[in-house]
């Protein structure tokens, strides 16, 4: 499965990439913010997007709205914090399929990825 990881912090990207690798997902592309992601998505078609919420230049919510306007149905998992959980509804309305709250365990992330992909495939 190809995954695009949209996260401004390099440290976090490394951590998330490491976790994805533990889960068996080794084909991972990175984007540093929403704008960078939109750019990369013109050439790269992932099977799943893992998107952070707070990013400079273009935050996660804005990116999702703009991405969905391109009629892409690729499943999106929002990586959020405990304090941002209240805004998950807004994110789902914007087109996010699922969310995971950090810090997360590999098992939890794996679970979210599996259920998101399965649900999307069913639809």
């Amino acid at each position: 499965m190809k995954i695009l990881l949209v996260e401004d912090s390099k440290t976090m990207r490394n951590i998330e990439k490491s976790v994805l690798s533990q889960l068996g997902y080794t084909d991972v592309e990175e984007a540093v913010d929403g704008q960078d992601a939109l750019r990369k998505l013109t050439e790269y078609e992932p099977d799943l997007l893992l998107v952070d919420w707070n990013m400079p230049n273009m935050d996660g919510l804005t990116f999702v709205k703009m991405y969905r306007q391109t009629n892409k149905t690729t499943p999106i998992i929002m990586v959020t914090t405990e304090s941002e959980k209240a805004r998950v509804v807004e994110a789902i309305k914007a087109g996010v399929n699922n969310y995971v709250v950090k810090p997360f365990t590999p098992d939890l992330l794996g679970q979210r990825i599996t259920e998101t992909v399965q649900k999307t495939a069913a639809v």
Binding site: K10, N14, I15, S18, K102, P103, P106
Partner: protein, 514 residues
């Protein structure tokens, strides 16, 4: 270092045993020249820890925040700290044995500090025991099972199994001690509680290394006792089995269910008592009162004692002087009587069956007397007001008079029967007395139906017995001459009927004068 998450900025090391996690904040590399290095945040650290399976807690977050603070202050050097610590498993308490108060066989029981009876009236110094003695049913103690311990946790949350304690192994003989399912330990047998490492048992043998005195207290024991020294005044040795006492017994009480051996003799000063269930062996006895259930053997002397020996008395080298001996069986003794003329009495004839019958008859007599006592007061009251009695009272008075008369007659009959029994029993007394050396003047022999008073010295060895005709005779064992009637040697009287001049034949001159 077991598991390490490699990352340019952050690393976490989980110890091999999973009991600690060390977070290292490295020097952050500047990616783009001229730009600041990306700051390391607590969120990143926590995400890294979580992604490595570390359980996050308030303590972990606190440690992480503290470490990040250090990094913020100085990001030019690495900062490392243990941010998560596991909880080790707690081993359970080992099983243990606890004795109830007074039942620890290893406990020092120091009675020697007692100042003697009367030093403290609230304490019975005689009845304190220096030994750990148990009775049937005594709750000796409790065997506590080992604790299960508490489980621990690794930093990843994986449980560490608890380490149970080690059970206490207690070996017991199931016929002596019971360990109940709830751990209570009971004595099934009376005796001396003894412990040998992990074995607990109840012994039927007690050894007293010294005297029986204030350092030991009275000895009340189920089993056999050996006393290496003696027994002091006023102490009691009461055992269900046999007792052996090597030293001198003073004015004490010796009670046994079986045998007693007093190799050091007993000087009881008319205050000591023996009640021996079976055989009694003593070096000497002085001033002792008591009963011996079977045979008695004496080495040296019996002086001023009041003793009943239901079996034989043996002491061919011993002397009996003063006091009264009542012997059921035969007697073999060295000397009888005291050369000072101190009255000495030897009674022969203790028949257990006769005694038992006698006791039963006596109990009937007692019951008759009790009933008489019950009716007598009412009878006497009615009698004193005889003239003023109502019809019912008169009737009652007549009834009581009849009952009391009948009871009186019954009591007389029973007394008569009892005396008849004594007569028959005395007639049947087996007489077999052998005196090896000497019978001193002043000796009285009760031989059932007759008593014989020896007023002259009689040199032994002699045997006194009942011949084929039933007559009591004295045989000189040295000379081999025919036996002589007892009445020719001692003054003989009938116990139940007075007999005159039966003792000595009339001289011929007296007969001729008549």
């Amino acid at each position: 270092m077991a598991k390490e998450q490699s990352n340019p900025n952050l690393t976490v090391d989980i110890a091999v045993d999973g009991m600690s996690a060390t977070l290292t904040l490295n020097v952050v590399e500047v990616e783009v020249e001229g730009e600041d290095a990306e700051p390391i945040t607590a969120e990143q650290c926590l995400t890294l820890l979580r992604s490595n399976g570390i359980t996050l807690s308030d303590e972990v977050e606190k440690e992480v925040h503290a470490l990040v603070k250090l990094h913020v202050v100085d990001s030019t050097s690495p900062h490392s700290d243990v941010v998560a610590t596991g909880t080790p498993a707690t081993p359970g308490e080992d099983g243990r044995l606890e004795f109830n108060e007074g039942f620890d066989p290893d406990e020092e029981r120091d009675l020697a500090s007692a100042n003697g009876a009367g030093a403290d009236d609230s304490v019975d110094y005689y009845n304190r025991s220096a030994f750990c003695l148990v009775n049937v049913g005594d709750e000796i103690g409790h065997l506590y099972p080992p604790g299960e311990g508490e489980s621990g946790r690794k930093v990843t949350g994986d449980p560490l199994p608890p380490i149970p304690g080690v059970a206490y192994t207690l070996k017991v003989d199931n016929t002596e001690i019971e360990i109940k399912p709830d751990g209570d330990i009971l004595a099934l047998k009376a005796g001396l509680l003894s412990r040998d490492e992990n074995a607990l048992n109840v012994r039927s043998n007690l050894e007293v290394p010294g005297f029986v005195d204030f350092s030991t207290g009275n000895i009340l024991f189920h089993g056999d006792v050996e006393i290496k020294e003696g027994v002091r005044d006023c102490f009691v040795v009461d055992v269900t089995g046999s007792v052996t006492i090597h030293g001198q017994v003073e004015a004490a009480t010796i009670r046994t269910g079986l045998d007693a051996t007093l190799t050091g003799g007993m000087a009881a000063r008319e205050k000591g008592v023996v009640e021996i269930g079976r055989d009694f062996v003593a070096h000497y006895l002085n001033g002792v009162t008591g009963v011996v259930g079977q045979n008695m053997t004496i080495d040296k002397e019996i002086i001023n004692c009041q003793l009943v020996v239901k079996g034989m008395l043996m002491g061919e080298n011993a002397a009996v002087a003063g006091g009264r001996l009542h012997v059921g069986g035969s007697v073999i003794i060295g000397e009888l009587g005291a050369d000072s003329g101190t009255p000495t009495e030897l009674a022969i004839g203790v028949n257990a069956e006769v005694e038992e019958m006698d006791a039963k008859i006596q109990s009937i007599v007692d019951e008759i007397q009790d009933r008489t006592k019950a009716f007598q007061p009412e009878h006497d009251t009615l009698k004193s007001n005889e003239r003023k009695l109502s019809k019912d009272q008169q009737k009652r008075y007549r009834e009581l008079r009849t009952v009391l008369r009948e009871l009186q007659e019954l009591e007389s009959s029973v007394h008569e029967a009892q005396e008849g029994l004594h007569v028959v029993a005395d007639r049947c007394v087996m007489i077999d007395i052998t005196v090896q050396r000497l019978i001193q003047p002043g000796l009285r022999m009760n031989l059932g139906e007759v008593t014989a008073d020896f007023n002259d010295e009689l040199t032994g060895p002699v045997r006194i017995y009942r011949d084929a005709n039933g007559a009591i005779v004295v045989q000189d064992l040295k000379s081999g001459e025919p036996p002589t009637p007892l009445h020719a040697i001692a003054r003989v009287c009938q116990v139940h009927q007075p007999v005159e001049d039966e003792q000595a034949p009339e001289p011929d001159s007296a007969k001729a004068a008549a």
